[in-house]
Amino acid sequence: MANRALGAPGLTGPQPLPKEVVVAGSKAQVEPLITGGDSRVADRVFSYAMLGCALSVIGIVGLIVYELITKSNLSWHAFGLKFFFRSEWDPVNDQFGALPFVYGTLVSSALALLIAVPLAVGVAVYITEMSPRWLRGSLAFTTELLAAIPSVIYGLWAIFVLVPLLRQYVQPWLAKYLGWTTLFEGPPYGIGMLAAGIILAIMVVPIISSITREVMTAVPQQQREAVLALGATRWEMIRTGVLRNARAGIAGGVILGLGRALGETMAVTMVIGNRPEIAKSLFAPGYTMASVIANEFSEATGDLYLSALVEVGLALFIVTIIVNIVAQFLVWTVTRGTPARGNA
């Protein structure tokens, strides 16, 4: 009976089905899908189960917020907002202030963006606008491979390769020629803010460049052709036709990279030196919000100590959430209306 209905014309119109669908359909004949009886109950149960899964996503975020707020309550009551403006961190005497960590997080992330943004945009421009077609896919894949390397491996590499390199060659050179800026003063330990900034930069480049590629690809091809037709060189075409149209999305990518840099833990912990001090020199060791949690959380004795660490986590959580929301909004303003596409 059902087969006759399929023969009726004009319901959906003849459309070629993808191959996979045919395969799935032929399997369906082997095992009958219609088991008879009333499916209303089963349908309702299934829809509630799926709704439950979806609600669990909200539940998890709610749980994170709840845990962070309740567990940091003690510290909040002890120090108030001043917690973020005090620079003492003295677990023995129960005196806690998060300023050095906030400073370290901000400076290392800013340094990372300073290095990563030009590189990432350059890579994206090359891949989308300049590279020969055969190179495009593999180049995109290779840069994205950088994002697949775990943080702890970056840290390992930084300790044994990057830091000695900085100590022996880069830092003496910087001190000699750029020492007058007072940013590169003091003994070249290798570990410190500079090493953290560089390793963070390597880690955020793939994020920024993949978003930048995405928004640049979303710029209509006619824009490029129009600018070229006016006699522009390739760079002028990229600047006026592509980058200008994609700038909000690129900003979104940069901010997304910032979000990643702010919350990055392991690689930074392994090279930043872990000293809660505020120093102007980029050679000096520092400490970040994520690192202090990683290093001290499992050893924190005393409720106030633990609570102070959770409060650092709460602050980090709020900042990264805001940063991510802003970034997603910016990317969305550029890519909306264009069809979703796979990578490369």
Partner: protein, 299 residues
């Protein structure tokens, strides 16, 4: 990737129109800078992989893969318990994370399409995706470790599960959306119920894409260290109990890397090489599947 499509008719003398030296030079400089950026980015990638192979391969041997760590300073020993521990924690994580993620993805594509509630879930999943992993560790500590009274494999699994859910949710949703509506209608037309259609027709059609999402989530959390620091905690011995501290490859690499012992440094490199091979293999497998399966077919 859009290519120039229109052939523009130009006046015959167009090519003779002069482009100033400045503009030509700037164009050249920018091209040069872009190539330079590519090189600068590929350099650390090559350096990381090069050093991993160079330093790691010499320390991988049978003992490394089958033995547990020796006390500091003693030669020999291996990371067998850490490799097994990582797999164990990942298994616990996928027991929680995979069904939740796929279920939420099904909800988004089959029930919540275009609704305000669906958008809220989608947005929340993206927010969860951006939460730093160390924060997830704190939450798993509060939820599991504090209530159990000690560090455990379960706590580590819960932390990683939380990190897997948003990735799986979003890829499952995207893959299910690629399944043509006509396929669902065909099933409904035959009298198949909605739940059966979703599971046996829609989800089955998108299987390879959904598996891709799960593998990507695996690759993402397999190397995570920060959320395990105060949940799984690490262990120098074998452990198969859910409620006991468990070693993990990433944790072991961290501990060994910051230790003062040369022997441990070597083992850290070897462990890192094994970890990266596992991750790159799964990402590569994903790419193979993605190139043949739904992702390409439906685009």
């Amino acid at each position: 990737m859009p290519e120039p499509t229109a052939k523009v008719m130009l006046p015959a003398n167009f090519a003779d129109a002069p482009i100033s030296l400045y503009r030509r030079g700037l164009n050249f400089l920018v091209t040069f800078a872009a190539v330079g950026a590519v090189v600068m980015v590929l350099l650390p990638l090559a350096a990381v992989f090069g050093y991993l192979i160079y330093k790691g391969i010499g320390s991988i041997n049978w003992a490394f893969l089958t033995q547990i760590p020796k006390p500091p300073g003693e030669a020999g020993g291996g990371m067998a318990n850490a490799i097994a521990g990582s797999v164990y924690i990942l298994m616990i994580a996928s027991v929680f994370g995979v069904p939740l993620g796929i279920g939420a993805g099904i909800y988004l594509s089959e029930y919540g399409r275009g609704t305000r509630f669906g958008n809220l879930i989608r947005f929340t999943a993206d927010v969860l995706n951006g939460v730093p992993s160390i924060i997830v560790g704190i939450v798993a500590y509060g939820l599991v470790v504090l209530s159990q009274g000690h560090f455990s494999a379960l706590a580590g699994g819960v932390a990683l599960a939380i990190m897997m859910v948003p990735t799986i949710t979003r890829t499952t949703e995207e893959m299910l959306l690629l399944v043509p509506q006509i396929v669902r209608e065909a099933a409904y037309g035959l009298g198949v119920s909605k739940w059966r259609t979703t599971l046996s027709i829609t989800l089955r059609t998108a299987t390879s894409g959904v598996i891709t999402g799960v593998m990507l989530a695996f690759a993402r959390v397999a190397g995570e260290t920060a959320p395990l620091l105060f949940t799984a905690f690490g262990n120098q011995y074998w452990n198969w109990k859910m409620n006991q501290p468990t070693a993990a490859l990433s944790l072991q690499i961290f501990t060994y890397a910051i230790s003062p012992f040369d022997e441990w440094h070597k083992q850290a490199w070897a462990g890192a090489l094994i970890l990266i091979v596992l991750i790159v293999a799964s990402v590569g497998a994903v790419r193979l599947v993605a190139n043949r399966g739904m992702l390409k077919g439906a685009n």
